[in-house]
């Protein structure tokens, strides 16, 4: 028996369990996000670009201990003040990055210049009002993107439930990625929200593949079609995960790192959300439809017999 046959047999037997497991799995993460929101009053931790503040990127000639920098510079202000390491693509340490809610950072900058052997120093400051307005707009952008994406899906497939399943799968991917970001204590920047937007378009690709193969193919049973779509789709997702995972490790840029991390987790969630959740729901949908069709056919036969 080939692997395909084994999988199809296994899937036919257990698809409801897999579907249930996927739903429970994602429900836990959704619950976590809600719990976190109630606890902190915020959906996620906002970075400087979304709440206002400054980022100081310091490249050093002579490296120093980041924790020491934190205690020394942290004394200068009562505002939120975080120092972390800054390294290159090849893993060489370059210096440190300060992220703070401070607006006027010139005292901090002059202290850095006087206390450390500075090669370059870059300052990025965002006003608090601008940050808040960015945040509001990004949320609006996500909502619009979602509505547009949903429209495209409905117009393409013209069937209500399968289209809704595709959209549900995208929601689930975003929720999982968001939960991971909260768990890892990452502060989300405007670029990060752009990554969530990208995830909307990206995560539905495999679901579109699956739905097309299941609904439009003429050969094989549903589980076989799911398997065929999966053998294509998993490679797609793995290739994208490889690219984003490596990009995450290789780039020293905070902007790129965050985009890649969010995409990576979203793609990871896309595997169960597409191949267990969406596939399971689709299989249920197709079977129900077939049953209805059979019943109708029987009724018709009966009618013919009677008439």
């Amino acid at each position: 028996m080939s692997f395909k046959e084994k999988y199809v047999r296994f899937y036919d037997k257990h698809y409801k369990k897999l579907l249930f497991a996927a739903i429970v799995f994602f429900a836990i993460f959704a619950g976590f996000i809600v719990f976190n929101y109630i606890k902190t009053g915020e959906l996620f931790q906002k970075g400087v670009s979304l709440k206002g503040g400054s980022i100081i990127t310091v490249q050093l000639n002579k490296l120093v201990d980041v924790e020491k920098v934190q205690t020394e510079l942290g004394k200068l202000t009562t505002e939120e003040f975080n120092v972390r390491e800054f390294s290159s693509a090849t893993g060489d340490k370059l210096g440190f990055i300060v992220e703070t809610t401070l607006q006027n950072v010139s005292p901090v900058v002059s202290k850095i210049k006087s206390d450390y052997d500075v090669k370059t120093i870059n300052v990025e400051t965002v006003g608090p009002k601008l940050g808040q307005s960015f945040f509001r707009q990004m949320i609006v952008a996500i909502l619009i993107a979602f509505i547009l994406m949903a429209l495209v899906v409905f117009v393409s497939f013209r069937v209500l439930l399968p289209s809704a399943y595709i959209i549900l799968s995208a929601v689930v991917d975003i929720l999982f990625s968001l939960a991971m970001v909260i768990l890892l204590n990452v502060k989300i920047s405007a670029a990060g929200i752009a990554a969530f937007l990208m995830l909307i378009g990206y995560s539905v690709d495999t679901d579109i593949l699956l739905t097309t193969r299941v609904l439009k193919a003429r050969e094989g049973a549903t589980s076989e079609r799911i398997y065929n779509a999966m053998s294509t789709g998993i490679v797609m997702t793995l290739a994208a995960m490889a690219a984003t995972g490596i990009a995450y490790i290789a780039t020293p840029s905070e902007v790129l790192k965050q985009i890649m991390m969010i995409l990576f987790f979203g793609l990871m969630a896309d595997l169960p959300s597409t191949w267990f959740q969406n596939a399971g729901l689709l299989k249920l949908y197709v079977e129900k439809k077939q049953k209805l069709a059979e019943e109708k056919a029987e009724e018709k036969e009966e009618e013919e017999e009677n008439g």
Binding site: Q59, S88, A89, T90, T120, N122, V123, E124, T125, V126, G127, L130, S133, F134, R136, Q137, V140, A141, A145, L148, M149, V152, V153, S156, F157, A190, A191, A194, A195, L197, M198, G201, Y202, V204, D205, I208, L209, T212, A217, R218, N228, S231, T232, V235, M236, A239, A240, A242, A243, I246, A247, A250, T251, P252, S253, V255, L256, I259, M260, L263
Partner: protein
Amino acid sequence: MVNLGILKSGRIIFLLIVLALALVAIYPALWNEGVAIKGVVKDGPAYEAGIAQPKATSAPMTREVIKSINNIPIRNMEDYAAALKTLAVNTTAQLKTNKKTYRIVPQYKFDYVTLENESTYENRTTQLYNKTLNMSVNITEQVKVPKRVKVYDTSVVDLGLSVYNAPKSNIKMGLDLQGGTRALLEPAYELSQEQFDNLISVLEERINVYGIGDVSILPTKDLEGKQYIKIEIAGVTEEDVKNFIVSQGKFEAKIGNATVFAGGTDITYVCKSSECSGISYQEPCGKTADGKQWVCRFRFSITIKPEAAQRQAEATKNLDVISMGGQQYLSQKIDFYLDDVLVDSLNIGADLKGRAATDIEISGSGAGLTQAEAINDALNNMKRLQTILITGSLPVKLNIVQIDTISPTLGKEFTRSTLILAIVASIAVILVVFIKYREIRIVIPIALTLFAEIIIILGVAALIGWNIDLPSIAGIIVAVGTGVDDQIVITDETLRKEVAILSWKERFKRAFFIIMTAYATTVASLVPLLFAGAGMLKGFAITSIIGVSVGVFITRPAYAALIERILKEKRQ
């Protein structure tokens, strides 16, 4: 070997043509040496030697590149800096570029100080139809331009050029990759469209006068309808942006230490008509002592408030009268200060001594290579001065709501890392594809398509002059990732066993349904980003959209044609 017959496919030929065009647009020249001219300071030595100011929008490879100075070869910025040190003021040097050879006279470095928010009017005539007269009449409108003055730094010998290492292709890098300053400005209160446009043109003029090339000023509105101005300047510090471009000015006229009048408030009338303003005919235009330049003088009259006139009388009553060039002037000049920096000194006519005159004549000069230029310059200076006196300052203060500086070395580090990243990520993707198919004849076309896509995206970016910044690179990675996805879909649809059931055509149709729907969802989710957040993530959205579009309409059809042939061949 792949049969050369694939070249007969229209889709593949189309891809090759687009690829060739993209390469032409990118114009790679990795061997390019020298320093390219980014900006020419107006009235500086290079300007006088006849070196043209490049347009900010011109493609990098069309820039004039300096190859040698006094036969010292210039390969990079270090060479250029070293060569500058060998030059002496007023000693002619020979400067060779890739276009021609110039004779150039080095001068002390000078900067233009832009009169903060002071602007002047230029006439713009439009023709309108007048009903009552039943004829067309010319309506002259006044358009604002700012005033600026020269400040010398006698410790530095300079050519009045801003240069950078010669570009190696037409791809423009964003600020985060090449270093520079980016600021997001917000007017203190909401402006009408006309006021807003006016503000933009003033900012543009200020930057032009500053003599730096790579600047972009982008007026934007965000989703909430707020007005912003985004300024990006390569190789300029945060302080420069704050001092030169954004800050608001305070204008004062002083005699000795006494402030006589201030811009705006103290002045009741400034003559701008030809009877009491214009090129001075008592002192006709003439050549400077070295015979290189023309100088013309202008004069115009103003009326100041009686209080200001009284202050002037106090300030001038104890001054001596001196004679200069047949004219009688007072021993002290009237000095114009902008933000407490001296920007100009003008002679005061002797007849004004101790008089509380409310009518005052003001004079000044302009210079140029030809008489016409000198007249033009003098008139421009006059107009600027007139406006300073009328308006005092711009009507609106600009708040810096976001400012960002990136040093060129950090930018270099980012560029290097990004190149490594692109290569490693591509290898990873290709590896995954290889593990799946274990068939070199499938992997090579996928890899080739992937690289063709990157080149075409970069070609489009070069063509439209889009700056590649970090978010743009993220966009390229994402687009290429989607591209590989689609190639996998095509390959699998083509490879599927049930050959008998569906024709090639039908299977491609299905693959393209998947691809087109996926494409439409991706574009749909990116569109809002073009407008949100004052366009800060536009780069990401634009390169992603270009990338997926190139993929769907150019590379994917070609890939499908290629893989169809390869797999058919294999089957036979």
